[in-house]
């Protein structure tokens, strides 16, 4: 049983009276009295429950002066941060029509008015080159480019050579057909399970598609893109991101059953069991004079969802990862990934090097188990980064060498919200440091829509560092949730915050203007039914 205190308002009690008007008039004074008092009540309630109005005022009043006057020349100039918003993954449907075109149009206009620089558009291999090798249909994407151009926004294109689970966007049908014939073109784990969302990096240079190699296919795709979109190059289209692997990221699909490389409970598994990878491993082992080490991956590794301590390989203080074998395997495994990165990025440089486009590739932020000595999640994902060794130097060098920038997701994460052992912030700091040293720029991204201002303030603090290595940010991504009243006002405040980095997002007065969860319990007393 419960008792509720309710307020009342002066709503239209009168409308439910039928022929009672005369009585109503006689009590009119009384009525009026009532509604006045009742207003108090609702206000008091609001105060009690939503006292946070005070802090806004309070902090706002102190913060602005502090921040403003202390604005040092080092702080990011406003135009320094380019802010992009990702378009929906399924902006263009499989039959090359536009999804939610009206919504996107409205959304783009809103973004333009907000001062967002542009949008990021995922371009899918499985849509453009769906039916046959070399047969491209760019019509849907051209329509988007045209739309973005008309609105005066910039466009960054992500060429996706992988598939998407949700929404479902598979690889080109002809690629899948080759895959059926030879499943070894996919990444394969210890148990022989294939990851069919992208091709294994082992086949990069192998003529698996009727005498053509995936690298050639990727390159042709890029060339076709370049020539088709040449009218937009440099003006509307300012950047291109080339897909490097699962989810476009440079990594192994080490957690392929959970679709995420940040599977917090488990460490993932090595993906070197397709026949081509095994061949390379064997050759490498023989070359290193350790033929016995080339017969497969490590035996003492945990399975996907097990913690690092479940088996010996990743254990702190004396796990196999620290042995010569461990070093042998991890060096080879990570070098395979780095070479693959180099191959793809050099295609990008070859194709787009002379265009005004900014070329980039995406690194994952594999922050699970970062606080352990062996960094097992990073190891299975292909980054030989442990407590003893900086695994990102070589990786980032490849980007630098190919004049590519890095897309780095996870700027919205904070250690506090992640489970023990994980540390997105430390990993971010490490990667940023390496980038700073090597002069490779970072474009940040968020991993999920921020449901709380927390995420936004994390992003903001990442963008407002003294030495800005992250000079551009893409907010992922537009969709129903993005525009929902729960989210959009926070995003608006965030954009204003980015454009005025010296004011805290949560201090912005605008956060007050937008829809608060105002629970006005103004119910009319139930007096009569019809």
């Amino acid at each position: 049983m419960e008792i509720s205190v309710i307020g009342n308002s002066q709503m239209k009690i009168g409308k439910i009276e039928e022929n009672l008007r005369d009585l109503c008039i006689s009590n009119f004074g009384n009525n009026k009295q009532k509604s006045r008092v009742l207003f108090d009540q609702s206000k008091i309630k609001e105060k009690g429950n939503y006292g946070f109005r005070f802090p806004l005022r309070a902090t706002q009043s102190n913060v602005i002066p502090v921040e403003k006057t202390s604005a040092s020349p080092n702080s990011i100039s406003v135009d320094g941060v380019n802010l992009f918003v990702g378009l929906p993954v399924d902006t263009v449907s499989r039959d090359n029509t536009l999804n939610h075109e009206r919504a996107i149009t409205a959304g783009l206009k809103a973004l333009k008015l907000m001062g967002v620089d542009g949008v990021e558009l995922p371009v899918w291999w499985g849509i453009v080159e769906k039916d046959a090798m070399g047969k491209y249909d760019w019509s849907g994407y051209l329509a988007i480019a045209e739309m973005v151009h008309k609105l005066g926004l910039k466009l960054r294109v992500s060429l996706c050579f992988h598939a998407s689970q949700e929404p479902k966007i598979p690889l080109p049908t002809w690629v899948s057909q080759f895959g059926e014939a030879d499943p070894s073109i996919y990444f394969t784990d210890r148990l022989g399970q294939q990851y069919k969302e992208c091709l294994s990096l082992a086949v990069d240079d192998l003529p698996i598609f009727d005498s053509r190699s995936p690298i050639e296919v990727y390159q042709n795709f890029c060339e076709s893109f370049k020539s088709t979109f040449s009218p937009f190059m440099g003006s509307t289209i300012t950047g291109v991101t080339i897909g490097l692997g699962p989810d476009g990221e440079l990594r192994y699909p080490s957690c392929h059953d959970s679709a995420s490389h940040n599977n917090h409970s488990g460490v993932g598994e090595f993906q070197c069991y397709d026949k081509y990878m095994l061949t390379y491993l064997k050759q490498y082992a023989e070359k290193m004079g350790k033929p016995m080490w080339g017969l497969g991956g490590p035996h003492d590794v945990p399975s996907y969802n097990e913690p690092p301590c479940a088996k010996n390989f990743f254990k702190d203080n004396g796990g196999s990862w620290e042995t010569p074998y461990g070093d042998f395997f991890l060096s080879w495994y990570s070098n395979q990934l780095i070479s693959h990165g180099n191959r793809i990025l050099s295609i990008a440089l070859t194709v787009f090097g002379e265009t005004p486009l900014i070329i980039s590739g995406k690194l994952p932020l594999v922050h699970s188990w970062y606080k352990t000595q062996s960094h097992p999640s990073e190891l299975t994902a292909g980054f030989y980064n442990t407590v003893n060794r900086d695994g990102y130097e070589e990786v980032i060098e490849v980007f630098g060498k190919n004049s590519c920038r890095i897309i780095l997701p996870g700027l919205d994460l904070s250690d506090a919200r992640e489970p023990n052992g994980s540390s997105p912030q430390s990993l971010l700091a490490q990667i940023k440091d390496v980038c700073r040293v090597q002069g490779v720029g970072i474009s940040g991204e968020n991993l999920s829509l921020s449901k709380v201002t927390d995420g936004f303030s994390n992003i903001k603090s990442n963008l407002s560092e003294e030495d800005p290595i992250v000079d551009s940010f893409t907010y992922q991504r537009m969709g129903a949730d993005f525009f929902s009243p729960k989210h959009f006002p926070m995003f608006t405040a965030f954009v204003r915050g980015v454009n005025q980095l010296d004011i805290d997002v949560d201090d912005m007065p605008e956060t007050r203007r937008v829809a608060e969860p105002v629970h006005v319990k103004s119910e009319v007393l139930q007096v009569q039914t019809a």
Partner: protein
């Protein structure tokens, strides 16, 4: 008794059973300027003065006592006590007792309450044989002395001081005879001090006196007896059904049972307690003192409060007379944390006597100690909207003029609002020229320019920004509604060529041409004539010549109430007697001759208005609809007529109507079944109906009733489908008040209206209830400063989204013979001088047009039309003082309202008086 769950409490740990309750008399807290004029403050040497002529924030603490202290041997250099008003929840009980009286037939119901307050029992009865849950007034002999009848369905009886046990402070007793035909006593409890209603599980308390009501979930007292009832309900109804056979439908039970029920009445006494929670303002205080430690030359600030909760001091320090919060160097006081490198947070230590205190030792360079308090990690307390600020630098020279100015300037820079228009008080001007204050002013200016430079946002002017923000929100709302409404592929249809990135100026249903002037063409009595349409027809040409472009007609459909707001068969626009006689005879009796006219008369009057160039709005009541039939439980939720929906069309979350639809997407209107607009069939039917009204009847647009009841996105759907020329929604909820006084800041209120407009994708406008409410306070209390918001714009919806604001001062609910919220009497013309010169689409109430005000209203309309003032005109507020408000609109019209003096600026323009009346004046540029 079932377990008791109480609504979440603000303070879970109430240490005292009965805390100190100081109900604050609003009168005592009226304008701060009265209590704290700078002059008075200086005389007593206090720091409570802010030298402001108007309270910017009406939330607050006030210094209640100030101890002027100069450098004395005690070394106390500053001390002051602040009042900290808080709202606390106090738990108590409602006691309900049913006893047998002196003789066997008389019974006594006692309702008591253990909490202090001015309690009133608001109650009514059901008679045996009543259907539904309508209340009736109890027979006279049941009414205790002091009872007041409320309308004709309820009684209000004040609770008296209690004489009984059980700890009740107040109680009321109702005597009744068990042979009276009363089936149940229903009540709710009201606290007149706070205006709160106390219900039982969100519904009325019901004390059933016959058995068949016992299965309702909100009954009290009877549950345990139920099973042992001789002849339970189930058997009873079975018997009835059997005996009556097929002749009797399910509803028959209700009709047939009274006699049986009476015969079976076996009342048993009971006693029950229900927990209640009351919110009471509690006043605590904060005592601040500063001591100078002569040995270390440091200042020791001491805070002491009698708040019993956890108190966190969120503080910083200021140096060099700059109002920057800084974090002082360590060592910090114990229990201190650094918050975001900007402030420190120190928890006050609770002492044995329930008081909490904290000591802050500050270096002598520190010139100020700003802080706010956070109570229980939930509620922030500050000093009348500003941070608390304790000056330290020249603490010895308390009361010197320069300190006063320090204080003034600092408080302004703290609140972040620097009003340019406001001249400093004359006595201070001289001192303001000092280099020191210059420095601060520069600082403030720098602030302003910093904010306005360099940023993509700030390149645009403030006004444009506001419009852009609204535009952004509108676009986002549109995008969201598209996503929500469909996840499938849309055909390519958007025409980019025509969609330029401009602010919307195109013709839009929310605004019509932008130059509309609306006439509400009826009042609460209009239905009585029986031929209202025909009466209006005679006035068509006059309304047109007055300058009206849109008329809003009353709801046309068949309705349970004669005014039309309880619609039943939406397609029956024929409310003539004949139809009623044949179909609903009983209704005809109640509505005899009380309607607006027939469908043909309606069509005729619409045509007539079209002929004189006036568009016609239909009053579409689509939030709720009265049912034709009862369901098997005797609940009215089955509809008839052309739209013969069943209970699936009724929202599920109003227990009175047992709907089977989805939960309501808005607030419920409790007097009739609320329509579930989330159902496709409902929306399709309503769209078809609107299109029919538009096409066959001839309406040009809609006035949408009670749109708080359903999601604005559905309205967009209706608007898109019916393509009205003009549409306006009634989104009416209450403004913010603090202790009886309307808050200056009504942003939350107008935001709710804006949110609704946004949800409609901007396709409909909304009545600017905010502006009406503020005008009430302005005119009733002579507080014209309220008409300028902190940004110097109109404080209502019209200040934020003028093109969607339909301004009004009165309608059939607020005024007319209902008077639920009547505009201050005699000051209507000031209201019209405001809305008819300002942006937004003004609406004029019928009663005012056809009154002595007609010539003045007519003159104002012609000024508006002559100067082409539109809903998007630019208003520049030139004065907002205590007794006068003035503005210039589009540089073409100047106006003032209020008794104070004002002349428009004689700069580039020459002004000539166009209209003049009591306390208002309107000029036109020559």
């Amino acid at each position: 008794m079932p377990t008791v769950a109480i609504e979440p409490l603000l303070h879970h740990s109430l240490r005292q059973q009965c805390p100190r309750i100081n109900p604050i008399n609003p009168r005592k807290l009226l304008p701060f300027s009265l209590n704290f004029s700078s002059r008075a403050a200086r005389i007593c040497g206090s720091y409570s003065s802010y030298g402001r002529s108007k309270p910017l924030f009406v939330t607050a603490c006030s210094a209640i006592s100030t101890i002027p202290v100069t450098s004395q041997p005690t070394e106390i250099v500053y001390s002051e006590t602040y009042e900290l008003p808080l709202v606390q929840k106090v738990e108590g009980k409602i006691c309900i007792r049913l006893d047998q009286g002196k003789d066997g037939d008389s019974w006594i119901l006692t309702v008591g309450c253990t909490l202090p307050g001015k309690w009133v029992l608001h109650w009514g009865v059901n008679y045996v044989g009543d259907v539904g849950r309508e209340w009736d007034q109890p027979p006279n002999e049941m009414r205790p002395p002091g009872s007041v009848a409320v309308k004709d369905y309820a009684i209000e009886t004040p609770l008296a001081q209690s004489s009984s046990s059980e700890g009740c402070l107040h109680e009321v007793t109702i005597d009744f005879n068990c042979h009276s035909k009363i089936a149940a006593i229903n009540f709710v409890l009201k606290d007149e001090e706070t205006g709160s209603w106390y219900q039982h599980k969100g519904m009325d308390f019901v004390v059933p006196l016959v058995d068949y009501l016992c299965d309702d979930e909100n009954v009290v007292g009877m549950k345990k007896e139920f099973d042992s009832w001789p002849g339970t309900f189930g058997q009873l109804s079975n018997m009835l059904l059997k005996s009556e056979g097929p002749l009797c439908d399910v509803e028959g039970i209700d009709e047939a049972s009274p006699e049986l029920a009476l015969a079976n009445r076996i009342l048993e006494g009971f006693y029950e307690e229900q927990p209640i929670v009351k919110e009471v303002p509690v006043s605590n205080s904060l005592f601040v003192s500063v001591r100078k430690c002569s040995e270390t030359d440091k200042n020791i600030v001491s805070l002491e409060t009698d708040l019993s909760e956890d108190v966190l001091v969120h503080w910083g320090v200021c140096r060099d007379n700059l109002m920057k919060w800084e974090v002082p160097e360590a060592p910090h006081p114990p229990n201190t944390k650094v918050f975001k490198d900007k402030a420190l947070r120190t928890k006050l230590q609770t002492k044995g006597d329930g008081r909490a205190n904290g000591l802050f030792t500050l270096d002598k360079e520190i010139t100020g100690f700003p802080f706010v308090l956070k109570v229980n990690d939930q509620v922030w307390l500050n000093n009348r909207g500003n941070d608390f600020f304790i000056p330290l630098s020249r603490a010895q020279s308390v009361g010197s003029p320069s300190d006063e100015i320090d204080k003034k300037v600092s408080s302004e820079s703290f609140s972040g609002s620097v009003t340019k228009d406001e001249d400093p008080p004359i006595e201070n001007q001289e001192v303001l020229q000092t280099t020191f204050t210059d420095g601060i002013i520069k600082e403030i200016r720098k602030l302003g320019t910093d904010i306005s430079s360099d940023t993509k946002w700030k390149r645009k002017s403030k006004e444009a920004q506001e419009t852009i923000l609204q535009e952004i929100e509108k676009l986002a709302a549109e995008a969201y509604s598209i996503y929500r409404s469909s996840t499938t592929t849309f055909p390519v249809e958007a025409d980019l060529e025509t969609e330029e990135l401009e602010l919307p100026t195109e013709l839009c249903s929310g605004t019509g041409s932008g130059f509309e002037i609306l006439c509400q063409g009826f009042n609460w009595e209009s239905h009585k004539s029986g031929r209202w349409y025909m009466e209006l027809l005679e006035k068509a040409s006059e309304l047109s010549s007055l300058g009206f472009t849109v008329i809003w007609l009353p709801p046309p459909t068949e309705s349970v109430s004669p005014e039309g707001y309880m619609p039943k068969d939406l397609y029956n626009l024929n409310s003539s007697l004949d139809e009623f006689m044949t179909t609903f005879l009983f209704l005809a009796v109640t509505t005899l001759g009380n309607r607006y006219g027939t469908i043909d008369e309606l069509k005729t009057v619409i045509k007539a208005f079209h002929k004189v160039g006036i568009k016609v709005l239909g009053d579409a009541v689509i939030n709720h609809r009265c049912a034709h039939f009862k369901n098997q439980n005797g609940i009215w939720n089955i509809f008839g007529g052309r739209l013969n929906w069943d209970d699936r069309a009724v929202v599920a979350d109003d227990p009175h109507f047992q709907g089977r639809g989805n939960k309501s997407s808005g607030d419920n209107f409790h007097a009739a079944p609320n329509i579930d607009h989330s159902q496709d069939f409902v929306r399709n039917d309503l769209k078809e109906w609107l299109r029919w009204l538009r096409k066959d009847i001839g309406y040009d647009g809609w006035r949408l009733d009670f749109v708080r009841g359903f999601w604005g996105g559905y309205v967009k759907d209706y608007i898109d489908s019916s393509e009205p020329y003009f549409a306006v929604g009634e989104y009416w909820d209450s403004l913010s008040y603090t202790y009886g006084e309307m808050d200056y800041d009504q942003d939350a209120h107008r935001q709710r209206i804006i949110d609704w407009i946004n949800a409609t994708g901007g396709t409909a406008g909304a009545f600017d209830v905010t502006t009406k409410g503020i005008l009430h306070s302005v005119l009733e209390r002579c507080e014209y400063w309220r008409l300028s918001d902190p940004k110097g714009k109109p404080p209502g919806v019209v200040g934020w989204w003028p093109s969607r604001a339909v301004t009004f001062i009165e309608n059939h609910d607020t005024g007319s013979t209902q008077g639920h919220w009547r505009f201050p009497g005699g000051k209507e013309m000031q209201g019209y001088a405001y809305i008819l010169t300002h942006p937004g689409t003004p609406a004029v109430f019928y009663d005012h047009i056809f009154s002595d005000y007609k010539p003045e209203i007519s003159a104002l309309i012609s000024v508006r039309n002559k100067n082409k003032i539109s809903c998007r005109s630019i208003v520049k507020i030139t004065k907002a003082d205590r007794d006068v408000y003035a503005a210039v609109i589009d540089d073409k019209v100047a106006m003032k309202i209020g008794p104070g003096h004002y002349e428009p600026p004689s700069g580039s323009q020459q002004w000539s008086v166009a209209v003049e009346g009591r306390d208002y004046k309107v000029w036109e540029a020559k």
